[in-house]
Amino acid sequence: MGAFIVQFLTGLSDAASLFFVAAGLSLIFGVSRVVNMAHGSFYMVGAYVAYFVVSFLPKGIFTFWSGIIIAALAVGVLGVIIEILLMRRLYKAPELFMLMATFAVLLVIADLSLWLFGAEDKIGPRAPGLDGSYNIMGALIPQYDIALIVVAPLILIGLWLLLNKTRWGILIRAATEDRDMLAALGVNQKWLFSSVFFLGSCLAGLGGAIQLPKGGADLLMDLNVIATAFVIVVVGGMGSIGGAFLASVLIGELSSFGVLVLPQSTLVMMFLVMAVVLIVRPYGLLGKPEAEEHLPPELVESPLRPAPLKFRLVGLGVLVVLILLPFFAGSFQLVLFGEIAIFALACMSLFFMMGPGGMVSFGHAAFFGGGAYAAALLVHYTNSPMELAIALAPLCMGLLALIIGWFCVRLSGVYLAMLTLAFAQICWSIVFQWSGFTGGDDGILGIWPAKWASNEVVFYYLTLLVSIGGIMILRYLLFTPFGYTMRACRDSHLRPDSIGINVKRQQWFSFAVAGVFAGLAGGIYVFSKGSVFPTEMSISRSFDILLSVLLGGVHSMSGPLVGSTVFIWLEHQISQIPFYKWGLQIQPWRLILGGIYILLVMAFPQGIAGYFGRRFEGTFSVNK
């Protein structure tokens, strides 16, 4: 009996740590609609700051708790600085651009933390006065766990009072409901947003600091916590603090008892919960359906038009250069350009569902990596020839996308994106866990091209054929009735519905088409690398693809091509710089990449291709 109670209380204390981070994230999203990827970084910085403050002050109860509060406030200030310097310039840009900007902040903070705080993990100080254990019917539970269980509801009540009983809270709730109306009433939104950012970041810092006695501070905390935080926010309903609390308890307890029943469930439990909750309640436990946003006129896209002649000539020129490349470039250049082409196809497939389809996916790597696995498994188990494997990979992924899509298209916006993430994680964990069949994280090796294609030039042409072929088909599809219907469904649900179009089915098929072509990219990718590992299906791979699309711009068909080229090229360039030769211990590629992303976001809020598309509108003008 005692053991069960302790198991339950342990789950609650885990839930408390989760709640602190998630509450801040939910608050920020509710008001500013920013999907704040840097939230995990704030959590990490909070942990480090508290660690240093507590270890340099004399020991004592007072210094311990003041250390935690100092850390929370410091992180709050950091949040405000980032909001003022970066986010404030971007509120007019599409929401997804904020995601990219905050992702860039995450990268920058990751490397700065390494440089400032050092590489070694820090073990957290114990909380003075709470460093023992209570005995509950023969089972011990740390006193600090009980403290956390008490503090979390207090924070919840505090937030509730703040939001419901103060003028500031009323304004915040008004902003959550309708920002434009609030602005029309003369409320200065700038400071409102800054203050929300302050509070949200404070909570993240508090979460990081308060978990110190349960573990410590390390450099992987940021990425480790961010996915969890998002899951809780979404399960609870975005913007709902009470929902975040409920979701934390749900996930904390299910994880705590889950390990009793099935110890291997640790990888996937959280995402299973999210998938189930979202399928049953599309807006989370306590979330409300999002009001249809009235897009400001400049964001309503002008319809896609076939490229004008001059622009087609540019495209043709690029194609000719690519075809002639083997005649003047080194053999490694072919490998690099081949990779860019494959990646461009993967990005184009995401663009297809994201831009014209209006469905953002955070889990596109499920189809890219899944295609790679499908091809690899076919070769590995059935010895099927390369051609067959590349042909079947997209079919398999089309089927997978039909299954996943069926659930996803019933949702919209961030909820849809998070459900794709949940499914991607479930697929990933199946591949990861089922080592007897998929090789687990030891992957599948020895998947090299057929003999006729093993020459690097031949394989390069094959890659070009598949990738550019795929891109052209996707482009063609956008100008067929299928594509027009898809775009109609994105722009309005009611109008296509009223002329007899089944909106959900249309979205479902668009989702599947995107899956097919991502699978095709994965199928050829595995032959270029010779092996495939679960990392190709991981969250970070999904974000590689997503960021590249955003980098190029979601409103222009050349966006994904430009974005993926810039992404691969940048990553490759930065990896070549021999920092260690200049006495620099770390390899600050994340800092540089993040810095460049920030600059790109500031310079091209519509994406690179989007920007140049407008800049040279005159040059490539469409004959109207």
Partner: protein
């Protein structure tokens, strides 16, 4: 907007500059070696490793290099992605014309390179990846591995653990290939030594996302007498702290893989567990002349003490140098032939690269943890030579694809 565009332009121009210059600055007359590792992540392991091979490189080149030439190492970062590692390997081979590859930390990156080496008939010395598959299930003629594998380290612990009377065992290991292999090997070796033991509970926390409290409670319900732990890094810290507070370690015999390595033990500071049976590297107490010389040189150059990774890096570089001397040329087939059976002296004593599976016999230290001056150390340790902890030749032939 234009302002940012300008800054961007400058940044891109700089990056393009890098593209052009390194190739132009290279001079002939050196033996070029490609090195790939995860320098941008897990810096607490990879930086000591780099220090190690750079020290060895300096020693090799200051004594005249090999084959009358100096060795030039082109070191690259794979960011922990196997796809990147393969791309960089292509670049090192095709553009930089390296004669061989070495390095890598993660097992999946190591395996991707293992396969790359096989296909391109390229010599590859895996430095740190622990996966047994590198030399066994996926082993090939062109791949060698230096560090004692998961199996070897688990076997060392199991042999010692068998001396303890405990019969009921529980295991906790991160939920990925390394954790699974480490548990499987340990169970196998312990059961052959002690058929009477039984494994009564297991926990598989996600890597670096341990729910230490819940998992410890789950383990204690099975009332084990002994626990085998494979978690490391931040998971280990949480496991240790929660375990102490929940009285989990009291009266239990704890065996823990790699926890005696300074990389993992030192961050625990004065909370380092006492009396655990661990594998590791007690650099502070090893008094052999070979190690003392290495230790002095390392401390003089870096003003820091070596970690396990430092010795791995140092041995990797020296292994390559000795192999090149023996081969007398940089022809891949001859280098492979020279590496098979190569024996050289390392800070840990003589190491041989076995002909049968290309695994080195580098060993590890097995001992008990203790606290000394508020720091975790290993005591009562002994060096376990890797050659004594590998399966029989017959078994290895079964594990490794032949021909």
């Amino acid at each position: 907007m234009e302002r940012y565009g300008l800054i961007l332009g400058v940044v891109f121009a700089c990056l393009i500059g890098f593209f052009v210059f390194p190739a132009a600055g290279q001079v002939g007359g050196t033996i070029r070696i490609g090195e790939i590792n995860t320098y941008s992540k897990l810096t607490n392991f990879t930086i000591p490793y780099r220090n190690g091979w750079q020290l060895a490189l300096e020693e090799i080149n200051s004594s005249g290099g090999v084959l009358g030439k100096k060795i030039e190492v082109i070191s690259r970062d794979d960011a922990g992605k196997p796809g990147n590692a393969v791309k960089i390997a292509e670049e090192l081979v095709r553009r930089d014309k390296v004669v061989l590859l070495m390095g890598s930390y993660f097992s999946h990156v190591g395996l991707a390179l293992t396969d790359f080496a096989k296909r391109n008939k390229l010599f590859y010395l895996a430095a740190e990846p622990l996966s047994d598959a590198v030399v066994w299930a996926k082993g090939n003629r062109y791949t060698f591995r230096l560090r004692p594998s998961t199996y070897m380290q688990a076997a060392m612990l199991a042999v010692e653990a068998a001396k303890n009377p405990a019969k009921r065992w529980a295991t906790i290991a991160p939920n990925y290939a390394y954790g699974k292999d480490a548990v499987k090997s340990f169970e196998k070796v312990l059961k052959t030594k002690r058929p009477d033991v039984q494994f009564v509970a297991e926990q598989w926390p996600a890597l670096f996302k341990i729910n230490a409290g819940s998992e410890i409670e789950a383990l204690s319900r099975a009332k084990p007498e002994a626990v085998y732990n494979v978690t490391f890094g931040s998971d280990l810290a949480k496991f240790v702290r929660e375990g102490k507070l929940r009285g989990f370690f009291k009266g239990r015999f704890i065996v823990s893989l790699l926890s005696g390595e300074p990389e993992y033990l030192d961050p625990l500071k004065d909370e380092a567990p006492e009396g655990w049976l661990v594998t590791g590297y007690p650099w502070y107490d090893i008094k052999t002349p070979a190690h003392t010389r290495f230790l002095k040189a390392y401390q003089a150059k870096y003003h820091d003490y070596p970690r396990t990774g430092s010795v791995v890096g140092y041995n990797t570089m020296w292994a390559v140098a000795h192999m090149l001397k023996k081969a007398g040329c940089t022809d891949t087939e001859k280098m492979v032939d020279a590496m098979e059976g190569l024996t050289f002296d390392s800070p840990f004593g003589p190491i041989t690269f076995r002909k049968i599976d290309h695994q080195s016999t580098m060993g590890a230290f097995v001992g008990y943890t203790a606290l000394r001056n508020g720091k975790g150390v290993m005591v009562n340790w002994k060096y376990m030579d890797g050659k004594d902890f590998l399966p029989s030749d017959e078994e290895v032939r079964k594990l490794r694809p032949q021909g």
